[in-house]
């Protein structure tokens, strides 16, 4: 039982940065912008968050800073794609190059100025501790209610985004813009502003995901290559979650489970005799599976008669005179 509990706990912990990235990318894609720069945004957020946490010892400011750095990246993207109508794929990739370079450049300066390590106070604040009462429930308490504070932040943001899209007017307008910008324009919605606002918000959420990686996964020490592909996995997860941030909560759990499973497969195999085959499966299969499944989801969803759940205009820019 302990094996399962520990595994679930670790899966949630590993899935959280993906949940941030995915939620951010969902908001962005819903506005019709396919931002492939999530990796870069997360890197910028990772640096922005870590730097402020390191300098000020204030978690709140650190998360704000991470969000602002993510926004800065998203602003570059938005200006090029929305105002200047640049190619979305290429701009996204450029953002990834830029963001990765940005974090590792300034990270290097941080390292040279003395080994950057978060203070005792900060690591204490970010440590995993059970929530009073709820954390004492057997099994569930450990799995769900004993995490670091940022895990809950990610889930709350995902739920807010989900409710925003489903129940609010701006959320509906956002979907209209993503599905058919010309029709939205005709309805009197300001397409460009809607795109700007949501791409920036999406960037901010991705940036916070980066901060999660640098603050939590790095054990308080800065690492230049910390994001290491998690931005790209987040893009995959958007598809897996079929553009719903509520589904993304479960999706991130599953993806997180795959990433930790390679380490835990042996535990399972030794504890349960019927699972002994697990330890014989190569690690590469476990890490590959999320991508294989996502590719499968992508293909199957496109086979359905209604088409995929992807916002229809996603990937193409809106140019009024061409409608």
């Amino acid at each position: 039982m302990n094996t399962i509990v520990n595994f679930m706990f670790a899966a949630i912990k590993a899935g959280t940065p993906l949940l941030f990235g995915t939620t951010g990318e969902i908001v962005t894609q819903k506005s019709g912008n396919m931002n492939l720069g999530v990796e870069g945004l997360m890197y910028m957020g990772a640096f922005g968050g870590f730097f402020i946490a390191y300098k000020t010892d204030n978690l709140f400011l650190a998360m704000i800073s991470a969000a602002l750095f993510g926004m800065l990246g998203a602003l570059i993207y938005s200006f090029l794609v929305i105002t200047l109508k640049a190619n979305q794929n290429v701009t996204g990739l450029a953002l990834t190059t830029f963001g990765t370079g940005f974090a590792s450049f300034f990270g290097e300066m941080l390292i040279e100025g003395g080994s950057p390590k978060l203070s005792q106070k900060m690591t204490e604040l970010l440590s995993e501790k059970p929530i009073p009462v709820l954390g004492e429930i057997p099994f569930i308490g450990k799995i769900l209610f004993s995490h670091n504070i940022l895990v809950y932040l990610a889930i709350v943001i995902a739920l807010i985004v989900w409710a925003y899209m489903r129940f609010t007017r701006p959320g509906m307008k956002l979907k209209a813009v993503g599905e058919n910008p010309a029709a939205a324009d005709a309805m009197g919605i300001n397409v460009d502003i809607t795109k700007y606002v949501h791409t920036l918000i999406g960037g901010a959420i991705c940036g916070m995901g980066g901060a999660y990686i640098s603050l939590i996964n790095g054990n308080g020490i800065w690492n230049n290559g910390c994001v290491n592909g998690q931005g790209w996995i987040s893009v995959a997860l958007v598809i897996f979650a079929s553009w719903s941030s509520a589904k993304a909560i479960f999706g991130s759990l599953i993806f997180g489970a795959f990433t930790v499973f390679q380490v835990r497969a042996n535990d399972f195999a030794s504890e349960f005799a019927f699972l002994s085959f697990l330890s014989k499966i190569p690690n590469a299969i476990y890490v590959m599976l999320p991508f294989v499944i996502t590719a499968g989801v992508l293909i199957v969803s496109s086979m359905r008669s209604g088409g995929s759940d992807q916002p229809a205009s996603c990937g193409t820019n809106y140019y009024r005179e061409e409608r």
């Binding site: 290429v90 190059t97 830029f98 991508f291 496109s302 005179e321």
Partner: protein
């Protein structure tokens, strides 16, 4: 609406295509401008940007060793970018170059390990054919789904990158694990008869680059297939009305695109740069950089050549400049990013113009009110 007479409408209109010479000059100016922005950034860090760029340029060319290292950056980047540009001309967003590159290396290694005793020329030929067929089909699968079901190719090819990457890991930990490595998971070095020939102090991949450059130029502008690609890229409907088999063209083009990327992978693993060994880091982002290079080069072989060289110099030169100025080599990524941003911005100036018209705005508004 009170200030109606003050209102000036600004709208964007497509401009008629500018002459090629003006466009080239504008892009050269854009790169210059980008380097200025980069220079300001470097100045803010307290380093003289003129000295820095001078060092980047001379540093990347200073010795034979540096020049060889520079070529090793440029060659795979150029081949892969050409591969990407073939699909991009058709507006098929192949973001899977990284995976196709990796699979090319995998299939080349497969040929080398399976038929290990062939004479070198036959071996190299077999490896190339195997990479082209294997890597080409790996990419064509995505085109198949795109044609059949309309699956989003950007996202699908993106997923395939990671599948390819973990296939290498799977092989490394499994059937291709080198027993001689003493428990350390690695794939064995290719046999010597599978190494690319040396020519002029470097492996002869550069000859392939030149041949590919010539072929690409001819293919794009002089052949029926090249013409078909540009028609499908402009409008699939036009292509259909003209009686073209769009699905066939899309699948064929994607095969060619990924086969070229795979060929780059084959030369990477059989060349000197990687000590003739397949690792999980074989592509290390070349496939992604190639997409930006292809775009910056305006999908034109000459442009791609120029941008590959520019990016190569930045990457190599910033590595050399580190010791002099104590700036992290990651500054190369930042500079590349800035160049991309500025050029993407310049695309706007070249394609569109901003029209200010006061009269029309009022007229339009009135029309709207009446209706």
């Amino acid at each position: 609406m009170n200030n109606k007479n003050k209102k000036i409408s600004i709208h964007i209109a497509k401009r008629p295509p500018l002459p090629a010479k003006t466009v080239t000059l504008l892009y050269i100016f854009a790169i210059f401008l980008a380097l200025c922005f980069g220079g300001i950034f470097i100045l803010c860090l307290g380093v003289n940007p003129f000295k820095f760029f001078a060092k980047v340029f001379t540093g990347s060319l200073q010795s034979k060793l540096a020049r060889v290292a520079l070529m090793r950056i440029i060659m795979p980047l150029f081949i892969t970018s050409i591969g990407v540009s073939v699909a991009f001309k058709m507006k098929f967003w192949n973001t899977g170059a990284e995976g196709q590159f990796i699979m090319g290396a995998v299939f080349a290694c497969w040929a080398a390990f399976t038929f290990e005793n062939l004479p070198q020329p036959i071996m190299l030929l077999l490896m190339a054919v195997s990479a082209i067929i294997g890597g080409g089909l790996f990419g064509m699968v995505t085109a198949f789904f795109k044609c059949k079901f309309g699956t989003n190719e950007t996202l699908l090819t993106l997923m395939f990158n990671y599948i390819a990457l973990y296939i290498v890991q799977l092989l490394r930990d499994g059937i291709w694990r080198d027993p001689a490595a003493g428990g350390f998971p690695k794939i064995a070095q290719l046999p010597e008869n599978a190494w690319v020939y040396q020519l002029g102090g470097i492996d002869m991949t550069w000859v392939i680059c030149i041949i590919l450059y010539i072929i690409a130029n001819i293919y794009f502008s002089k052949t029926k297939q090249g013409y078909e690609i540009s028609v499908v890229g402009d409008s699939q409907n036009t292509a259909r009305y003209a009686g073209m088999d769009v699905n066939k063209i899309v699948m064929r083009t994607m095969f060619i695109s990924s086969a070229i990327c795979a060929l780059a992978g084959m030369f990477q693993v059989a060349g000197d740069g990687t000590s003739h060994t397949l690792t999980t880091g074989i592509a290390s982002g070349i496939g992604f950089t190639a997409i930006t290079v292809a775009w910056l080069g305006k999908l034109n072989p000459t442009g791609i050549m120029a941008v590959s060289v520019l990016f190569g110099i930045l990457e190599k030169g910033c590595g050399v400049a580190k010791s002099t100025f104590n700036l992290s080599p990651a500054v190369a990524d930042i500079l590349q990013g800035i160049i991309l941003f500025v050029i993407l911005g310049f695309d706007f100036v070249i394609t569109y113009k901003i029209v200010f018209d006061k009269k029309n705005a009022n007229a339009e508004e009135k029309k709207g009110e009446n209706a």
